[in-house]
Every structure is written in structure tokens, then in C-alpha cells.
């Protein structure tokens, strides 16, 4: 029974690890995109000046 539970916990661990990774990635990208919009004027001025 203990050996069977190791397989069960491994499957659950992988499932929620994968869901948390893809979820966090989405949230990070969302925060980054929002931040870029908020800082658009400053950032774009810097990029244009560099060019």
C-alpha cells in the first residue's frame, strides 16, 4: 500500500507543480505587460533616444 501511495503522491505532485508553473508564468507575464504599459512614456523615450 505504501508503495502504491508513492505513485499517487508523485502523480499529484507533478500535476500541481505543472499547474502552478504555468499559472505563475501567466501571472508574471500579465504583471510585466501591465508595468510596461504604465511605464510606456519613459521607456519608449529612452529607446528612441538610444536609436
Amino acid at each position: 500500500m505504501e508503495q502504491q501511495l508513492i505513485f499517487v503522491y508523485a502523480a499529484y505532485f507533478f500535476t500541481f507543480f505543472a499547474l502552478i508553473v504555468i499559472g505563475l508564468q501567466s501571472i508574471m507575464a500579465f504583471i510585466k505587460a501591465n508595468k510596461n504599459i504604465d511605464n510606456f512614456n519613459v521607456e519608449s523615450d529612452n529607446i528612441i533616444q538610444k536609436k
Binding site: V8, Y12, T15, G23, A29, F30, A33, N36, S44
Partner: protein, 244 residues
Amino acid sequence: MSNIFNFLANPSRFKIFAEKVNPFLLIIMFVFIAVGLWFGLFNSPPDYQQGETVRIMYVHVPAAWMALMVYLSMTIMSIFSLVWRHPLADILSKSSAPIGATFTLIALVTGSIWGKPTWGTWWVWDARLTSVFILFLIYMGHIAVVRAFEDEYKGARAAAILTLFGAFNLPIIKFSVDWWNTLHQPASVIKLDGPSIHIDMMTPLIIMAVGFLFFYLSFLLINVQTELNQRKLKKLFIKKLNLN
């Protein structure tokens, strides 16, 4: 349907809609997954043949259902994209692909973990496993193709065509266990003569499936908002460059 699409295609309207709806979707997701976990791990009986390993079913089967459902929704969006050339359909399809790929990977890995104690092997190239693996490759192909073109419109069209070709794999996955002699068991929930699974096992399965569905919906909305913001940023930058 077209009216809803047109209403939500406006980025600012979509943002307001997503901001209002998403907290509810996230709460429903957390509740269903938490209850599903409790049922799946602690409040469901072991199988008379498989013992405790049957609990893997409560994450494996909903993940496999979601892998197919997300791909089906991408196929519908691809038709919208190719026929009506609606940009929101492209964005929805692009935003769905990473989530669908994750569910497919979960189905493959948890299936493999379940296979070892049940079949005595981690993997066999039988029709069901192979067709799901092909689905995973198609998802990865979609993610790559949509980002491979500098012109996002061309990338979206190429990805939509790939999605439509890949849709032929969906009935193969579903009926592979009936058409071929596979190590994977035949369907026991979604079949014509009704489910052949006991209610005590059906309950956690359905609860977890609903939780996974709401995971998809909530993170789809987040991904779509991100994509809309990135496109808006690109347009603003081009506008500013032209003004300078």
C-alpha cells in the same frame, strides 16, 4: 455569438469584463480543486484490483479531458480566425495553447506514473498513448509557429491551419481504444451506454474536472489580457516612432 465576439474584441471592454469575471473564476477554481483533492486523496474508496493507485485517475482523466477540450476550442477559434479573420479568435487560440500543452503533459506523465504499478511499464507505444503524445507535439508546434513570424497575422494564420490539420487527431484519440487493441483501458465515463464507474469514484472525478475547467478559463482570461496589452504597447510604440 458574433455580437459577443465584437463586443469583447474591444481591448478596453475586454479588460473590464475580464477584471470583473476573473476573481469569481479563480475562487470557483480554488474551491473545486481543494474539494476534489480532499475527495480524491481521502474520501474515495480504493479500487478492488488497483488499490490506492486508482486515485491517480482523479488528476489523470480530468487533465486528458481538458487536453482534448482546449484543443477543440482552439479548432473552433481557428475556423473563426480563417473564415471571419477575427483577431480575438487568434488571441484566444494563442493564449489557450500553453494551457492545453500543460494539461496534455500532465495526462502523459500521470498516465505513465499510473502505468508502472498497473501495467508493469512506464510507457508503451499503443494507439492511445501515441495519439496523445502526437497531440502534445501539435500543441508545441502551435506554440512555435505562432511566434515564428514577425508579422503576427501570418503567424496566426499558419497556426490556425496547423490546428485544423491537427484536429484529425481528436477522434483518433477518443476512439483509439475501440479501433485498436490497446493496453489502455476503454472509455468508462463518456460512452453511449452511460458511465460504468461507481458514484463514489465519479464524484471526485467530476469535481476535479470542473476545477481544471475553471483553471483553464481563469488563466485564459489572464493570457488574453497580457496579449492585448502587448499588442497595444506595440501599436503605441510604432505610433510614437512615426511621430518622432
